[in-house]
């Protein structure tokens, strides 16, 4: 694979939590291509939260390089990494993605409050939010409601809209469907795919459920690439 086309490239990454003797991450190589939809399979405790933290610039590796768009995150200052995260990443957690006291629209536009370039790319921020909420199939009458008045499934779709606003280059999704009913999972993934494609973003989707891996461009097993071999 051509190195230049990689959006994210991890080389010889090692990380040990402070106070631990064994590393939680030891990854020789890991890449995500531009616009690629990558399924990362890993049981809980396999170091996926740490890996996501490292990619998001929240965890500074002890060793190795994380190249994002050819920039080494390790060489950036804390402030520059914060700016990078605000501009380039969309994040969807397992659950509790939204600020409960904000309305749905304000939750979607949250990243635009912290990054000017993200707001610029979104154009009309309010219209972009509505467009994404339309695309994520969220009924208009729900949008002025407080986030905590929504069902879990609705909240996850709002979180996806937020992750995508302002077209970040990479969307990190950490088990975003685990709180959903099984028949809703596939629908959520399909909506996510269509919008990731529309935004031109790459998607790193982490899950322990191999059934969901079907439609992804590529599937990687974290226990396989992580030489640290953390016990599950």
């Amino acid at each position: 694979m051509n190195t230049n086309s990689d959006l994210l490239r991890i080389e010889e990454l090692r990380y040990t939590w402070p106070g631990e003797s064994r590393p939680v991450l030891d990854i020789g190589e890991f890449t995500i291509g531009r616009g690629e939809r990558l399924f990362l399979r890993g049981p809980s405790g396999s170091g996926k939260s740490t890996l996501l933290g490292a990619i998001a610039g929240l965890v500074r590796p002890d060793h190795g390089r994380i190249l994002f768009d050819r920039t080494d995150l390790g060489s950036l200052s804390n402030a520059a990494r914060d700016r990078f995260r605000a501009e380039q990443l969309g994040v969807i957690f397992q659950q509790f993605n939204l600020l409960p006291w904000l309305d749905v629209r304000a939750n979607v536009t949250l990243p635009c409050r912290f990054s000017r370039s993200r707001a610029r790319r979104a154009g009309n921020v309010a219209a972009a939010a509505d467009h994404l909420l339309d695309a994520m199939d969220l009924a208009p009458e729900l949008r002025a409601k407080r986030a905590d008045e929504l069902s879990v499934g609705q909240q996850q779709r709002v979180a996806a809209a937020r992750a995508l606003i302002g077209k970040p280059q990479l969307v990190l999704a950490d088990e975003p469907t685990s709180a959903l009913d099984s028949d809703r999972r596939q629908a959520f993934i399909e909506l996510l795919f269509s919008q990731v494609e529309a935004a031109g973003s790459a998607l790193l989707f982490v899950s322990h459920d191999p059934d969901l891996a079907r439609d992804f461009d590529r599937e990687v097993s974290l226990p396989t690439i992580n030489r640290a071999g953390v016990a599950a």
């Binding site: 939260s49 740490t50 996501l52 933290g53 998001a56 929240l58 965890v59 804390n78 402030a79 914060d82 700016r83 995260r85 605000a86 501009e87 994040v91 957690f93 397992q94 509790f96 993605n97 939204l98 600020l99 409960p100 006291w101 904000l102 304000a106 949250l110 990243p111 409050r113 912290f114 990054s115 993200r118 937020r162 950490d174």
Partner: protein, 421 residues
Amino acid sequence: MNLLGLALRSLINRRFAVILTILTIALSIALLVLVEQMRSEVRDGFYRSVSGTDLIVGARTAPIQLLLYSVFGIGDATNNVSWQTYQELAGTSDVAWAIPMALGDMHRGYRVMGTSDALFEHFRYGDRRALELAEGRAFDDLFDVVVGHQVARQLDYDIGDRIVLSHGTGSTALQQHEEHPFTISGILAPTGTPVDQTLYISLPAHRAIHIGWERGTRMPGAEIDPDQARERADELHPESVTAVLLGLQTRAAVFGLQRRINDYRAEALTAIMPGITLQELWRITGLAEQILRVVAGMVVLAGLLGMLTVLLTTLNERRREMAILRANGARPWQIAGLLVFEAGLIAACGIIAGVGLALLAQALAAPWLLTTFGLHVAVSWPATGLWLVLAGILGAGLAIGLVPALMAYRRTLADGMQVRM
């Protein structure tokens, strides 16, 4: 801007805890402001009540007691100054004027003072202002009475109204001087001093209504007929007066005269300089004031600690909120700033509400102070010094906000991407 909007919405979401915290701080600030305001207002009120009087003379007693019963109508005299001594005092070469005060009667809760025309000529209050009659004139007929501003206002009196005085100074003086009704001849302009709460009669009138009362109660048949009294007005004078206010020719003579009066052989007397005695009074009340200040300070501290408790408690609940903000691009200093801003806003709202409460309480207490002590307490804007203290408290509030802010800062760095519950 955007960040402040977020902070406000977060605060509104927790409005009950936030309002309670603001209320706690507001009450503590109100207490602090009230203690400070009342202290200076009450002092001003006392100073305003005696200006231009060089010496106050009464029977031997404690100086503060003499000052309180003669000028402020607080407490009673245990002994009087004989008429002869009063005349000697008034005739001393250093003395420019003497205002006699004969107390002992009341009218519907207000003090009645027997005095002379010297009161209207020489008594001064505030910035050396003389008493002025808002309506009517001073004593003309023997049974004329001049009433203070509050007396006329509260009891709805007009010139020409006839009133009856009561004997004794207890709160319920039961015996009435009903055979000697008085006519209101004058109403004084407001002064903001105990004068407003006093009725003034002439010394001969004071004597006339007490003929036949030598044993402290009425002896039927012994009293003097009003018309008879009018005929004999020139020769009537009380056997004693309660106190005498003296004005001197030269202020330099005050120490010498004070010593001479205190050493007076014929009668045991006390002469005081009102300003110095007030200082003594403040020395006594000063300790109480200091204690009140310390208590108020502690209460403010308790209020601020209450805020810290609330902020720290919510910090745990809001850990998730902070992780979400961080994942969406908030910098750690922005999250810390959010908390400092919250603390500052709570403290500022508390201070503003507290000052408002204090002013309200002052406005409500003012009528009570006026009727009870004759002290006019203005609802005044806090002095610069007090504003500096309040600014210091705001600063302390912000500093207290730094504690949770620092904790949040460190946690957001340590938590990374994990949304902990």
